[in-house]
């Protein structure tokens, strides 16, 4: 490895937020929670972009009243679409990274299915530099597994990694050619890069726009069976086992798919997996309203699948959450069910949604939910575990676990101002997110 593996600062990258001075900051009276435990209410001090310590003396340049709020390491997201370069009408770095910060995320991994595709080290370096200058959430670009996402030739993984790429993936387009998948895994392994897979068999998925089942047959919409996912997950896990490469299965959506992941994990295969907020909270019944906002790939499954995914989360089979935040323009989502694109924006509601539906509903404790957004992601990516210990990056989110507020897409930072959860009353809204010791988002304005 030619660069620090901690994901904090790539060697070629300018300081996060530019050269502006970072104020010495204190978060007064926050309930501190991190992987080491729930430490109760303390003053958390930040200086020079890092955690300075707890309950220190002296003057602060910025005082933040954090009484009643939880302070915890800002979340990490291994799976977002920021649509840059080339599709800035859907999202750009400023809107996407502001949306991430508003959702409590301090670091996001951006997917490579842009126009042009992120298969060129110059694009990776440019994305990282642009994002660092914004000073919002940190951007860690993923690079394409194949040149142009064409599934034919490998892109230059070593050069892409040197430019700052942290993951290799053709996300959005399944890698059909098993031989290419094998070679990608072999080559990525020697570089210590994680390969992320969008596991769906296109020949079985056909033109499916929603989960194939009783609802799709009733509504007359083309279905995409769960087996299109489980078959490809099996292929991808088998290739991971065969090559020893670290393979991360993105957005597992079905019971069948999760069972395959479990089976390989039990054998010690080097696979990890993520689930999305929407696959944990919505079902194919959402299609009855015929609003293509719920058109995602892989599709929303049945209530049984949701229950199984939640159980897999509880049992620790799921390594982390991945939002798969996938913004589109409203006009694109106002097309018909067949022509509307796949993907929905969710990064700003991910935590409140899961806090409300899983933690407040009594299905999951707070600590394992945080783990899925912090340490779990770090382990998948090979980064150090985020904590609030002195010297750790000054990436902190303040969570208001008490105030209930309705989802209001009109106020999203994302350009995609629509949501399947529009109007839902949720708790657990991030009040403030600090990245590298600076305020990247504040709900107070």
């Amino acid at each position: 490895m030619t660069r620090p593996a901690d994901g904090s600062e790539a060697m070629s990258e300018p300081p996060h937020g530019g050269d502006r001075p970072v104020p010495r900051t204190v978060l007064r009276g926050a309930r501190l929670i991190d992987a080491r435990g729930d430490h109760g209410a303390h003053d958390l001090w930040l200086v020079d972009g890092r955690v300075e310590g707890v309950d220190l003396a002296g003057d602060a340049e910025l005082e933040i009243d954090a009484r009643g709020l939880v302070a915890t390491p800002a979340f990490l997201d291994p799976h977002v679409h920021l649509r840059t370069p080339g599709q800035e009408e859907k999202e750009d770095l400023a809107s996407g990274l502001a949306a991430a910060a508003a959702g409590g995320f301090g670091t996001v991994v951006s997917m490579a299915n842009t126009d042009p595709v992120v298969d060129d080290p110059a694009i990776v370096a440019d994305l990282a530099a642009q994002a660092a200058a914004l000073g919002l959430a940190r951007l860690r670009p993923a690079a394409a597994l194949s040149l142009g996402l064409k599934g034919e030739r490998l892109s230059d993984y070593a050069a892409l990694q040197a430019a700052g790429a942290v993951m290799i993936t053709d996300d959005g387009i399944p890698v059909v050619d098993s031989h290419l998948q094998r070679r990608a895994c072999e080559y990525a392994r020697e570089l210590g890069l994680v390969i992320q897979t969008h596991s769906e068999d296109p020949s079985l998925r056909q033109g499916g726009v929603m989960h194939e089942g009783a609802v799709s047959h009733e509504l007359g919409l083309p279905g995409n069976p769960a087996e299109a996912e489980s078959i490809m997950i099996f292929r991808d896990c088998e290739v991971a086992r065969m090559t020893g490469a670290r393979v991360h299965i993105a957005h597992v959506s079905s019971e069948r798919g999760m069972r395959v992941v479990e089976w390989f994990k039990a054998q010690g295969a080097p696979v990890t997996c993520e689930v999305t907020p929407h696959h944990l909270t919505l079902t194919d019944d959402a299609w009855r309203a015929f609003d293509p906002v719920v058109k995602v790939a892989p599709p929303l499954r049945t209530a049984d699948d949701v229950a199984y995914l939640r159980d897999a989360v509880r049992r620790g089979v799921v390594d982390c959450l991945g939002s798969d935040h996938a913004p589109h323009t409203r006009a694109e989502k106002d097309r018909d069910a067949l022509r509307a694109p796949f993907g929905l924006p969710n990064i700003e509601v991910a935590f409140p949604l899961l806090y409300t539906d899983l933690v407040l509903a009594g299905e999951l404790e707070l600590a394992p939910l945080l783990e899925l957004l912090q340490g779990g992601v770090a382990r998948v990516m090979g980064w150090p575990e985020p904590t609030l210990a002195a010297g750790a990056p000054g990436d902190v989110v303040l969570l208001d676990l008490d105030t209930e507020a309705a989802v209001d897409p009109a106020r999203f930072m994302s350009k995609a101002k629509f949501s399947p959860w529009d109007g839902r009353a949720l708790r657990g809204w991030p009040a403030m997110t600090l990245v590298a010791g600076r305020v990247a988002f504040s709900r107070r304005g």
Partner: protein, 332 residues
């Protein structure tokens, strides 16, 4: 629901409004889920009145004078569009037509933008045909006009089902109430909006429906509705049935790997004179059109006295007249 509907005397044809007391009905006709059996029978009573109009020398009444009906066809269809336009003009409505073929829609314009453009020209009701299921429902969010679904993807084709059931009601004496009626639908059920809407309507009216086709074109889930049974043997589907409906078989299904050769399909699933001997002696042979003669239906059977295929087309006009009239005037 009573069996009396078919025997009610039609009201004076001069004033269709007096045909039957106004029943509260849904604002749109997207599918038949939100229409009750009583509302459907009331619609059929109105259709009786309209059918009488179509027997006169001057086949026109002023019932919808001053209304504008827009036909929005995002998918090619000649017969359905003609039938709706005839139904609108026979009631003196103005008609504007939009056919999407090679227009901006194919260039990625959103459904909403397309509708907004047309809606700016102010129609009172839109008749919509679209290749995507749910598109007519989406349109209801963006206009105040009433929407009639003229076929959306594989999902629904409610006026076709209405005219099929109306044809049965007026052609099979003694079963106008649909109690004890057995309908067999044979062919490519999976991809058929006609099948879905007929299942919805006939079971609502009290009939039982048997769906028949090869397993690749007949998913088990479609048999989960009460009153519906599935079979993969055409003889079993036809036996004792009061009406047998053959569905058009799209030849591209062969290329999609859903079917083997045409010869095998013909051999196993064609509705033939020989197989109709198993049906009720007065059974009707139906087809939503356009027919592939000697594919899903034996050619000579289509011309047999038992075939009501032409009557279905003819009834399309009064039934659609009743639909337009009910949605535009019936609730006022």
């Amino acid at each position: 629901m009573t069996g009396a509907a078919g025997t009610r005397a039609p009201a004076a044809p001069a004033a269709p409004a007096a045909g039957s007391p106004p029943t509260k009905h849904p604002r749109h006709l997207l599918d038949l889920a939100s229409w009750s059996a009583d509302q459907v029978h009331t619609l059929f009573d109105t259709s009786d009145v309209m059918a009488q109009v179509m027997t006169r020398t001057i086949k026109k009444v002023p019932a919808l004078q001053g209304f504008t009906v827009g036909t929005l066809f995002f998918e090619d269809s000649t017969r359905t569009r003609l039938s709706f336009e005839r139904a609108a003009r026979a009631q003196s409505a103005d008609v504007i037509s939009f056919a999407a073929g090679g227009s901006s829609v194919s260039k990625g314009e959103s459904l909403k933008d397309t509708l907004k453009t047309i809606d700016a020209m102010k129609s009172d009701l839109y008749v919509v045909r679209h290749p995507a299921a749910g598109a007519p429902l989406q349109l209801t969010r963006w206009t105040d006009a009433a929407i009639v679904n003229a076929g959306d993807g594989r999902r629904a084709h409610p006026t076709q089902a209405l005219l099929d059931a109306y044809t049965f009601r007026t052609s099979f004496p003694g079963y106008a109430g649909f109690d004890g009626v057995e309908l067999a639908i044979v062919g490519d059920v999976a991809h058929s909006r006609v099948a879905r809407s007929n299942v919805e309507l006939w079971t609502k009216l009290g009939a039982r429906v048997r769906l028949c086709g090869p397993r690749t074109l007949l998913p088990d889930e479609l048999g989960e509705r009460p009153g519906v049974t599935l079979t993969h043997r055409v003889e079993e589907a036809v036996e004792g049935a009061h009406a047998v409906m053959a569905l058009r078989l799209q030849t591209e299904r062969m290329a999609g790997g859903l079917l083997p050769s045409l010869a095998e399909v013909r051999e196993r699933y064609q509705v033939t004179r020989a197989r109709m001997r198993l049906a009720h002696p007065d059974a009707l042979v139906m087809h939503p059109g356009p027919m592939n003669r000697d594919v899903e239906i034996e050619g000579v059977l289509a011309d047999d006295p038992r075939s009501v295929v032409e009557r279905q087309v003819a009834n399309g006009v009064p039934v659609r007249m009743a639909v337009l009239y009910t949605l535009l005037v019936g609730s006022r």
